[in-house]
């Protein structure tokens, strides 16, 4: 059965236990960082940072807010990265995790281009670099444990379980507290649905979520899928928007690439 995680942003206190426990469990090195006028660090997800909390200040309904938003691989139901992977190094498991087999990876970085959430990153500083991202603690899940970040969350902002139950829980919370939550489950429909779902008391756009993503699964939009499944070609607009997305993402990746090269 596919698993899911519900992130209840009304509960997150921004302690970043998840950020550290992720590094601990996955044996990831610390980055050397500086303070740039915010609590947020490291600046971006990287090959040694699979998850991080974004800190966002703003105002909604004339009330100041300070939001803490956990970011990591969303583990899409139909991941664009998997379909973009030429060699089958990335796989979607039936249990939810999108996992990575380093033995097969040829380092083409198409996955980075394809990801709508800009998640996979590259080990820029290594001779034989690999693509790195959150594994959904597949090793823990397979042993019946919860993912490390979920387990460590002090304020129960993260809940792990069967996807269907998690989704129902999200709906229940919203329905029973309509004044507390905005009526939207982020990840339920985005790019065809993701294993990670978010609910919030603040509008998602104000918290920096990508709110304009297609509701359709992205693999349906990539050329690879298109060639394989010719009958969807009928929707030319869909193809164009798919191409537009990839181009845009390519620019983002190039930019990132430059930053990392200058650092490294």
């Amino acid at each position: 059965m596919p698993k899911g995680v519900l992130v209840d942003l009304t509960k997150c206190i921004g302690c970043r236990g998840c950020q550290v426990s992720c590094k601990q469990w996955n044996g990831l090195d610390a980055e050397v960082t500086t303070c740039e006028g915010s609590y947020e660090n490291p600046p971006a997800l990287k090959s040694n940072t699979y998850t991080k909390i974004r800190f966002v200040e703003g105002e909604e309904n004339n009330k100041f807010f300070w939001g803490f938003i956990k970011t990591q691989c969303m583990h899409c139901k139909e991941p664009a990265c998997v379909s973009a992977c030429l060699v089958g190094s990335l796989k979607k498991s039936p249990e939810g995790p999108v996992t990575y087999d380093s033995g097969k990876c040829i380092g083409c970085r198409y996955c980075m281009l394809a990801c709508p959430f800009s998640i996979p990153t590259f080990e820029w500083n290594k001779a034989f670099p690999l693509v790195k991202k959150c594994t959904f603690c597949a090793d823990r899940i397979s042993e019946g444990e919860t993912p490390s970040c979920v387990k460590t969350c002090p304020s129960d902002a993260l809940q792990f379980g069967e996807y269907d139950i998690i989704l129902k829980e999200a709906e229940n919370r919203i329905n029973s507290n309509p004044n507390k939550y905005i009526n939207y489950i982020y990840g339920k429909d985005e790019v065809g649905g993701t294993s990670w779902l978010y609910i919030s008391g603040i509008s998602f756009d104000k918290l920096g979520f990508k709110t304009q993503l297609s509701k359709e699964a992205l693999p349906n939009l990539t050329w690879k899928s298109l060639v394989k499944i010719p009958y969807v070609v009928g929707g030319l607009a869909v193809v164009l928007s798919g191409l537009w997305f990839i181009t845009k993402r390519k620019e983002e990746v190039n930019k990132l690439e430059k930053t990392h090269k200058s650092e490294g």
Binding site: G14, C15, G17, Q24, F64, S142
Partner: protein
């Protein structure tokens, strides 16, 4: 639970963590890129070494190495969760920066030398003996035997185990050391000074899990989301059950982000705010009338000559900066008991005096002083006073934002008054919860690593009051209250210290304990006095048990200079810190610094065994997971070794000064000290046949029992390890209130919520059946209890139940009046019986409530480095406050050396408002300088709407906020350059009127673009 395999662990714990070993992988082989790394690891339980929530951690080891650490899912407090600090514990044993060798720095040297441990300990023993013997004061000028030295100081211990703290207290006192201080002075000394006189005990009244039972959580002077993140597990549960979360803070904090009501107030004005709420509560009759009448001293009549005028209570002497407290007392009836007016109408009754006192704290005045708008004030006051309704309970959660002020004791007194008015004391979901910040600062305080106490909250012998044991017991033992048993506790302590040598004939070696005098410049021996004396060259040797005063002490420039004046510094630590490397600090010339430094590598919490006490008074056992790294040893080992060396030296020197307390110490824990032997001594035993005592009710004052700390007695009542109740892991909770009475052991007597008689009415019926701690069943005429009753419920001799009407007359068993105090008599709090607002030592404005600008009883220090900005200073117009972050811990060595935490908060910064940034032309993220008369500090600008200027009496006043974790040594220091990034370079050596806790939380400064 020690050293067991994962499989055994699951069996032991009833499989609460899903036992999944051996199950076929649910995922396909290629989908898991790594093996399950802890599959064959050994598991050891421990308790987190950071804050005092006391979260359980499982340490996974393989081949003697820690390979993983994660939350203990069975632990009822954290249920497997950990914050960023707790999650980083792995990097403490696995850290290249850990000290693995003894390091010695010779006078004027600029390098460390690696030395042999045995050599170093014997050298240290020689230094201590020489300094002690040269400075020893056997008799004071008044002819009283005092047997003390004022040339040696000991600091630290809050991160150590109880057993280690106990041996520190034992050895240090045997040496006659009176400059004896530790973290508690700096963090919660004002808590004890306020809660003790209000209720009888100085500790957190409830406990972490109990927060879930609250109807309203008032977070003031604290920031639990950041500093006690696991508290938020329970705060959020309360919120889910409908509780309101209120936050009052100068900054919009991570806690504020989860609040229902947030009010921004000016640092240093909480008494004005709480005074305003007290006034609002009384004026609108929102208090719990029956509770107030029955369980407090509201009805007691006060001396007719008691007065209050223009900010001063009667009896003030401005030259002495002290009060004659004669009139601060009750009127007495024929039996010598306080006279009462049960109608609460007499103008001389406590209630009416209190009402009058706080009638001055009008909405208008409160608004002008605090900067809180009227609307916000009313919203806050209304929400919290809702808990005054019978059956409702509200809790106050506070920490350093309250305790570190010149008026700190009275801050907490004001909380006490409010909570008594609302009937919130003794209630599940109520209480005053002092959130402690070090893993064992509760235990180290209980062990009295403080100059003014001995273990178990008994006064240190004072030369003036206690020249003999008889005088001590006479002066210190009240006729009523549980403290009437004090002679049993005190004599048993002397027996634990000096064993068979302590006899009735020699007053149980009473004179072996040092007697304190008036201290440095009459200011006692507490932290500030200690460092002022050191700065003045009076202290020759400093023994430091894991503290980092170079960063954590106020006025760090004075502190650092003081360290230069020492002959020797002995430091037991996991790391090289700003303190041990002070001679090598930015700007210092090592060749001119004579201090010899002995730096010993200490074992971390997972490298040794022992108990620690969390903030909720739970004594919990930590097991050893691995051997200490390198040459590191536990502090227990060092204490044992040091004692042995000192004893040897004193035995062989026939000219040694008063060797008796040292050579006669009752100290036999083995060459490799057995921590269980120490734990058993703390619990207490019968002297004749060495049988462990059931608990402190079995103690005697005739020398037949020995007990190292009476309040903990009961935690180790039998001879075997299985009798160690600190290691209990029974998760049954029949109350559903989260009491978990079978998990660990809470002092006193395993009571989880103290003053619990007050959770029920005078007939013994709980105010709220869902919040029943004790319940009088009128059918069976029995008490039916969920918690251990904290009152006389059963006649000790007959075993008969004491009816509720009787116990209702003595709900607060630790106070002589047996009732909680709105009015604190006889100068037990030095500023006066009721809290009054005074401005901080440095303030931009005049006090609007009276012509008394600052706390009238604080000591003003006068060294050349003690400087003070004047009121309304043009040069330093900005209020500064200091604070802590989730990602760092206290003075920094424990977190700035862990790369995962350093990554999250790598550099010193200052939070300031966009308006101030604009006025100063400061950009976000750029380096700026914060300056005042005492020093300066570089920091990155963090410009945020979370900070705003306050409207103080019509004047916009800016506030800036600085985390105080940074310094100049470590994996990260706070910045890129060889500079000192410690915020405490700016704070003043000025303390509270009762405990001299430094005023870290308010001072004046300016911020400059660089």
């Amino acid at each position: 639970m020690n050293n067991i395999t994962r499989r055994e662990f699951f069996k032991f714990t009833g499989g609460a963590i899903p036992a999944v070993i051996g199950l076929p992988s649910l995922l396909s082989a290629e989908s898991t890129t790594t093996d399950y790394k802890i599959k064959y690891a050994k598991e050891t339980t421990t308790i987190c070494p950071f804050c005092a929530v006391g979260c359980g951690i499982i340490v996974h080891t393989e081949d003697g190495k820690v390979i993983n650490t994660e939350g203990d899912s069975d632990h009822p407090i954290n249920e497997g969760s950990l914050c960023s600090k707790g999650s980083a514990v792995y990097q403490i044993p696995n850290n290249a920066r850990r000290l693995t060798k003894m390091l010695y720095r010779a006078p004027k040297s600029n390098v460390w030398e690696e030395k042999d441990l045995d050599w170093a300990i014997s050298e240290v023993a020689k230094r201590i003996k020489a300094a002690r013997d040269k400075s020893f004061i056997p008799v004071d000028p008044a002819g009283v035997t005092v047997n003390r030295t004022e040339a040696i100081a000991s600091i630290g211990g809050a991160a150590l185990n109880n057993e280690e703290c106990y041996l520190i207290t034992k050895l240090t006192r045997a040496l006659g050391v009176v400059y004896f201080e530790h973290e508690a002075r700096l963090c919660h000394s004002s808590t004890v000074a306020a809660l003790g006189p209000s209720f009888g005990r100085g500790a957190m009244t409830n406990h972490w899990i109990d927060i879930k039972n609250s109807d309203c959580v008032f977070i003031i002077g604290s920031n639990p989301a950041e500093n006690h993140p696991m508290a938020f597990k329970w705060i959020m549960k309360a919120k889910e059950n409908g509780a309101k979360i209120l936050v009052a803070d100068p900054r919009f904090t991570r806690s504020a982000s989860k609040s229902d009501i947030y009010v921004r107030l000016r640092p240093g004005t909480d008494i004005a705010l709480i005074g305003g709420i007290i006034n609002y509560c009384i004026k609108n009759k929102l208090y719990h009338e029956q509770y107030v009448k029955e369980y407090t001293n509201a009805s007691f009549l006060v001396d007719p000559n008691f007065s209050f005028n223009d900010g001063l209570f009667g009896g003030y002497d401005s030259k002495k900066r002290a009060y004659d407290v004669t009139t601060w007392d009750y009127q007495k009836n024929e039996q010598g008991k306080p006279s009462v007016d049960v109608t609460l109408q007499s103008p001389q009754c406590v209630f009416q005096l209190m009402k009058k006192h706080y009638s001055r704290y009008t909405l208008n005045v409160v608004q002008k002083i605090t900067g809180i708008t009227k609307e916000k004030f009313e919203e806050l006051a209304k929400a919290f006073c809702e808990t005054g309704k019978s059956g409702k309970s509200g809790t106050i959660l506070y920490a350093m934002g309250a305790t570190q002020h010149t008026t700190a004791t009275q801050y907490i007194r004001s909380y006490a008054i409010l909570q008594l008015l609302l009937g919130n004391m003794g209630m599940p979901g109520g209480g005053i919860n002092a959130m402690r910040g070090e893993s064992n600062v509760q235990g180290s305080t209980d062990m009295a690593l403080l100059f003014h106490l001995v273990p178990g909250y008994m006064s240190s012998p004072k030369a003036v009051d206690h020249p003999t044991l008889a005088k001590y017991l006479e002066k210190e033992t009240p006729y009523t209250s549980f403290w009437s048993n004090k002679p049993k506790f005190f004599v048993s302590l002397l027996k634990a210290f000096w064993g068979d040598k302590a006899t009735k004939a020699n007053d149980f070696c009473y004179d072996y304990l040092p007697k304190i005098g008036s201290g440095y410049k009459g200011g006692g021996y507490s932290w500030i006095a200690l460092f002022e004396a050191m700065y003045d060259g009076k202290i020759k040797g400093l023994i430091n048990w894991g503290m980092n005063p170079a960063v954590s002490g106020p006025n760090s420039n004075l502190t650092l200079k003081g360290l230069e004046n020492l002959d020797f510094l002995v430091d037991f630590s996991l790391w090289e810190t700003e303190t041990s490397s002070f001679w090598n600090r930015p700007g210092a010339d090592p060749s001119s610094i004579k201090t010899e430094v002995f730096l010993f590598p200490a074992a971390s919490s997972v490298e040794k065994e022992g108990s620690i006490s969390n903030s909720g008074r739970w004594i919990q056992w930590r097991y050893k997971a691995i051997e200490p790294v390198g040459d590191a040893k536990s502090d227990l080992w060092y204490l044992n070794k040091l004692h042995k060396e000192l004893k040897k030296l004193y035995k062989k020197d026939n000219k040694a000064v008063f060797p008796d307390p040292i050579v006669n110490l009752n100290w036999d824990y083995g060459d490799e000290p057995d921590v269980h032997l120490v734990a058993k001594e703390i619990n207490g035993y019968t002297v004749a046949d060495k049988i462990q005592l059931l608990n402190f009710t079995k103690l005697a004052d005739d020398g037949s029992t020995a007990c190292g700390n009476w309040i903990m007695s009961g935690f180790y009542p039998g001879p075997d390890k299985k009798d160690n109740k600190a290691s209990q892991r029974n998760k049954e909770d029949k109350s559903n209130l989260g009491l978990y009475s079978g998990w660990a052991y809470a002092w006193p007597l395993n009571r989880r919520i103290i003053y619990n008689r007050c959770s029920a009415d005078t007939n013994g019926k709980p105010w709220n059946n869902k919040k029943a701690l004790v319940n009088w069943d009128s059918v069976s005429n029995q008490w039916v209890n969920n918690d251990i009753p904290d009152f006389g419920w059963k006649d000790a001799k007959t075993g008969n139940m004491v009816p509720p009407e009787k116990s209702a007359q003595a709900p607060y068993i630790m106070l002589p009046e047996l009732h909680a105090r709105f009015f604190v008599p006889k100068g037990a709090t030095k500023e006066g019986p009721f809290p009054e607002h005074y401005e901080p030592f440095e303030s931009p404005v005049k006090n609007l409530l009276s012509s008394q600008q600052i706390n009238p009883v604080i000591k003003i220090w006068d060294a050349d480095l003690d400087k003070r900005a004047q009121i309304d200073s043009k040069e330093f117009p900005i209020i500064a406050t200091t604070y802590r972050l989730t990602e760092h811990w206290q003075a920094g060595p424990m977190t700035r050396n862990l790369p995962w935490l350093a990554e999250l908060m790598p550099e010193m910064f200052v939070e300031l408002s966009p308006a101030l940034a604009k006025a100063k032309n400061i950009n976000n993220g750029e380096w700026v300088k914060i300056v005042n008369l005492r020093g300066d500090c570089m920091a990155r600008a963090c410009i945020t709407d979370r900070i705003q200027a306050l409207n103080v009496d019509g004047k916009l006043t800016e506030v800036v906020a600085l985390p105080w974790h940074f310094g100049f040594f470590g994996y990260v220091t706070g910045g890129p350059d060889n500079k000192n990034y410690a915020a405490n370079q700016l704070t003043a050596n000025v303390g509270d009127g009762n405990t001299m806790i430094p005023e870290y939380k308010v001072f004046l400064c300016d911020i400059r673009k660089t």
